[in-house]
Amino acid sequence: MPLPHLALLSLFALLPSATAARELVRGNGPEPATLDAHRCQEVVCGNILRDLYEGLVTEDAHGAIVPGAAQSWSVSTDGREWRFRLRDELLWSNGEALTANDFVASFRRALDPATAAPVAALLRPIANAPAVMRGEAPPESLGVAAPDASTVVIRLDEPVALLDRLTFPIAFPVYLPAVAQFGAQHTRPGRLVGNGAYRLDAWTPQAAVVLTKNTQFHSAASVAVERVRFAVTEDAASELKRFQAGDLHLTETVPPRPLAALRAEFGDALKVSPYLGSFWLGMNLTRPPLRDNPALRSALSLAIDRDIVTRYVTGFGEEPAYGVVPAGARDYAPYRPASASLTQAQREALARERYAAAGYSAQRPLAIELRYNTSTLHRRLALAVAAMWRQVLGVRATLRNEEWKVFVQNRRARAITQVFRGGWIADVNDPLDFLATFSGADNPLNTTGYADAEFDAQLMRAARLPQGAERTALLARAEARLVDADAVIPLYFYTSKHLVVRDVEGFEANALDHHATRWLRWREGAAR
């Protein structure tokens, strides 16, 4: 390591932060859209809400499900009834008692269409939830009950995996008296009442949300960080400079730079780990030339050298993808098609064969459009892919970038797209979450228009099974069907990347990239 870098690193260890004592400053990306737990649908608000609230169950630093507001739970033999036993003497942050009834009322609010919760569908497995969400049944008819003050019973329509879903803000208890009094503005400092490890101290839009330790929290004694500032860091390059200047202890991301150079500069302060996200190129299967043309689709997929893509274009230790579900998915072995074990030269030979079989040649090359939403990375990816297509097959690709809202609309309409940027970041750690984006012709997420009754049926059956070997096998078969039909061009699986100062400990890698502040602590003897 060059000397100036060493000097810089040792400065990180020696210098106290420029901010107030004991305040942990985390970069958190853009301004959170809301702090209403039931209306949050983004990573940004989720990060803060996981500090302000706690569901019946929660995740530990490694992402494992652990007791939250509930100290224990049991599930009936048919897998349709879950009983949660709350901890003794649970309190809201204002000191009032938090009871099972509060949870019941919150679940009802989350699914009431009047709340307009964008991700209410996460709770769809709860009995009668679909009818409540459609406004056809009153929220009181939801399958959630409180037989006594410390028991919450959740009945399900199907014996699905429930616990993961309960760690999401949509399943957090919201203090309804504040909602009734202040409406959408109940999320302000002094009004927001939570049950998490922290309470809201200040919120300056576009600058920061500041939380302080909630002394009413059941495990407050084990919460080490007294105060945390979630700083708005919209620009990754600026965020990096704030980290270098000692203004941030933890970054939301790291701007694209060669990984080796970052490693050399930051050493083990750089944390890169697999993230439950999948990047692919979608193909519009409802329009020529890709409709009913598996040979051509396969040729386009095989011609792409994913090692080059992940090593030189993305460059953050991403894993080359040949399937849709990433390796971090719980209890699941991702599908690897036969082509994944070939060398790139073999894949390219196969690609040329299939390109010719589809009726294209050097004299009659394919002209195709590759559409992406405006971003430096997407442009570089599109350029690399177009170059590979040209080199291996002679395809003439036109690149087209669109602003996000326009892109999302065009992609969903399936009317003018051909090949386009696609992908999925998991909401819950479940392979089904990824596969469901290819199911159903009228599903707005199904941007490829993949229509396969057998695939849909497999997913439908899996959705009704509890976690276990049968469900996993069914999902694996469905993924194999999808990938073997070349309905999509998988490119790579995401990684999460952060910089964490050495004074902060307890930051552990996990597939959903959730890092609640309550698991972080100051290094022994660290200057605070």
Partner: protein, 311 residues
Amino acid sequence: MSRAPLALRIARKLGGALVTLWLLVTLCFALLHAAPGGPFDTEKLAPPAVQAQLAARYRLDRPLVAQYAAYLADVARGDLGPSFQYPDFTVNELIAGGLPVSAALGGAALLLALVLGVPLGVAAAAREGSRLDRALMFVGAASQAVPKFVIAPLLILVFAVELRWLPAGGWTGEWRYGVLPVVALMLPNLAWCARLTRTSMCEALGSEWLRAARARGYGELRLLVVHALPAAVLPLAAWLSPALIAVITGSAVIEYIFGIPGMGRYFVQGALNRDYTLVLGVVLVAGALVIAVNLLVDALRERLDPRLRTA
């Protein structure tokens, strides 16, 4: 031509201002709704019942003309509506939070630019063609030519990352967080100011009336400050109005790079998110500011320049 009574002149100007604002809002409203994609067009589309709720809450379920009428009625009451993207806040609150920050930083930057730029321009003009003059004008041209998105990261690199004198970004309200943004905002304005002052000073110094004053034996300093400068500030006053508006409504680039919670970034964010009410709100406030500043600067120029008074 005789002048109309003061009250009438003010009423006329205000009326004109209102019509201008109304045209601005109408045009902006039409353009926003003509842009493809709506505020709730996201990748993970909400369920239909939720979409219907949101549409009703934000009146998107009504015909466009009715939405427009309802919006104008709200604006007339001073209510800019709830933000689509940040539903926990009203647009009034977001602007009330952002404008003072933008105005404080921008005002400080412009004031500094004037305080430093005018003397520099005067000094350069007094020694026209000298090394000092050429050096000042070179630095001026350079800082005007280098865009803010280059200057700002450079300042951060030097003063925050390397020297660690100041924070690299963020905002707590402490003065330390404002220094680098103010410098970044000031530099191009300082250059403008110095160059404008120098040019008009050179012109004034070469004029006949100044030669006459010099012939009377007045000292060099008195010639510069008392005789040439008042004439030279006129072009500066004309430049002041667009400069003032640009700095107080905030610079999206500077705010983005430094993480400043100002108003400038709402122009860009609001448009990208199709946050109709936020965009309309910031356009309306900025429009009102433009008109107000123009009226003020016109009045100022009338005071400074007797030739404008009978117009």
